[in-house]
């Protein structure tokens, strides 16, 4: 039934049984004879008998209506009458045959701290590019190169599944420096010049006491303790607070340029296919200081979430009119506030006891010079490198 062509038709007659008998006598094979209503029958016949049936029913004055066409040959006939669909199917088959052994997708799994883009870029530099044949991919070479170029990786695996290459990575849990730090010796050194007011030693050998004046870089708590018959090396821990003095100078121009109103906006699009970029803009897209540029990326992905290397970028550029504005006396206030906030970011911990500022205003610039007396923590941990011969016991 799938290969032959069948047609389902309906006809209405006063005496349908007689019509059926007549059709059967004429050699027409009828199948699936069902009632539609009391005078209408639906039958299924072979396509090649339709003309004969139509002629017989015409002589009897009965009108027929084709309801359904069945069989794979009808489907093929329908496809044949649609040349664009046929051309698309052929193109799809050809592309599927040609591209089935090419790298079309690259996925990275297992990375947390390192960006996927970095790993993919390194892999592309070392012989894995989009469009290359999967049979020519040397996974061992790529793996070794990635481990060499990215020391943060502990293990790399490359698998190929059809057109998709998956790079599995495992990052190192701690860096080599951290490994040294966990097992090494450290001391507490002074980050600023000052007079020590408080000193709390949890571990190590204190070299100064409260009231002493220290310079920046001097060791406050040593990680080495000389016990006479042996030298103990450990990680010094402690908190050292001191009075310090900091000086800052901030200069701003007297006349600034401010954006006033929006002038016009311009939108352009770019299509990124792998590393190729198709620019639909008629200019380079480099704005000046009067423009605001907003950049949006839309990646195409498959239903299962796999991201394709195709991205549509929308660049919206808004031009502004600018007006010059002259700084006012309020500038002094926000400069002082800015200086205090900056000072707190430079401290490990502490507070500002006293401040003395000098304000200088000119036609061209405003300058604020500040001197700040602080009470802050100056102890800073510093790790030392262990040399094997020094560690031997005497």
């Amino acid at each position: 039934m799938l290969i032959n062509r069948y047609i389902s038709i309906c006809f209405t007659a006063a005496d349908p049984e007689t019509v059926l008998t007549r059709l059967a006598k004429e050699g027409i094979e009828l199948a699936e004879i069902t009632w539609v209503d009391s005078l209408t029958l639906k039958i299924r016949i072979k396509n090649k008998q339709y003309s004969n049936l139509h002629r017989i029913l015409d002589t009897m004055g009965i009108h027929t209506r084709v309801i359904q066409k069945q069989g794979i040959l009808w489907v093929l006939h329908g496809i044949y009458t649609r040349p664009v669909f046929l051309a698309g199917m052929l193109l799809f088959l050809v592309l599927g045959f040609l591209l089935s052994d090419r790298i079309l997708l690259v996925e990275v799994k297992g990375c947390e701290k390192i960006s996927e883009k970095v790993i993919i870029q390194q892999a592309e530099k070392n012989g894995m590019r989009l469009g290359d044949k999967t049979s020519e991919l040397r996974s061992e070479d790529i793996k070794n190169k990635l481990l060499e170029k990215l020391p943060e990786l502990q293990w790399v695996g490359v698998t190929i599944s059809g057109c998709k290459v998956t790079i599995h990575v495992r990052e190192r849990s701690t860096t080599e420096k951290d490994m040294i730090n966990i097992n090494g010796v450290s001391s507490v050194v002074a980050s600023q010049d000052g007079v020590i007011t408080e000193m709390t030693v949890y571990q190590g050998n204190p070299l100064f006491q409260v009231g002493d004046t220290v310079n920046a870089g001097e060791v406050l708590i040593s990680g080495y303790t000389d016990c006479g018959f042996k030298l103990i090396a450990q990680q010094a821990q402690g908190e050292v607070f001191a009075y310090t003095q900091r000086k800052y100078s901030i200069v701003v121009p007297a006349v600034a340029i401010k954006r006033s109103s929006e002038n016009k906006e311009h939108i352009c699009y770019r299509l990124h296919i792998g590393k190729k970029v198709i620019n639909f803009c008629n200019h380079s897209g480099i704005p000046d200081s009067t423009c605001v540029k907003m950049y949006s990326e839309y990646y195409w992905s498959l239903p299962d979430g796999t991201q394709l290397p195709v991205c549509l970028t929308k660049i919206k550029t808004i031009n502004y009119d600018t007006v010059p504005i002259k700084e006012s006396e309020e500038t002094k206030g926000w400069l002082m506030e800015y200086a205090r906030e900056y000072l707190y970011t430079q401290m490990i911990a502490g507070r500002i006891m006293n401040e003395s500022v000098i304000w200088y205003a000119d036609n061209d610039i405003y300058e604020l010079k500040g001197s700040y007396a602080c009470h802050e923590m100056i102890g800073q941990e510093k790790y030392e490198e262990i040399v094997e011969e020094d560690a031997k016991d005497n």
Binding site: E17, L20, A24, G27, E29, L30, I33, W35
Partner: protein, 98 residues
């Protein structure tokens, strides 16, 4: 008075042959309670969901049941499907021409 005996009956009697080897001899096959095949029919006289009557050489074959449907019909064969309760042969007097 002897009844008229036709040629086919003579041949089947002498040659020990089955009737169904001769053309125009109606044959009714019942398969379970769902299918009836009638060969060498002369057309249908009644087609309904509960009754289908088929004209054969010596009378009518009436099939009674539920949800009866003519599944196939050609010049010589006819297949009825559905829930079949009764298959009845209604004969008529044979004429000299038979």
């Amino acid at each position: 008075m002897k009844k008229h005996v036709n040629l086919s009956e003579k041949l089947t009697g002498r040659g020990h042959l089955n009737y169904d080897v001769f053309p125009d001899v109606p044959i009714v096959e019942i398969c379970d309670k769902e299918r009836v095949l009638i060969e060498n029919h002369y057309g249908i006289t009644c087609y309904g969901c509960n009754d289908i009557c088929v004209r054969v050489r010596y009378g009518y074959v009436c099939v009674s049941g539920n949800q009866l449907k003519l599944n196939y019909m050609s010049k010589t064969k006819l297949i009825i499907t559905g829930r079949i309760h009764r298959v009845l042969l209604q004969g008529r007097e044979r004429s000299n021409a038979d």
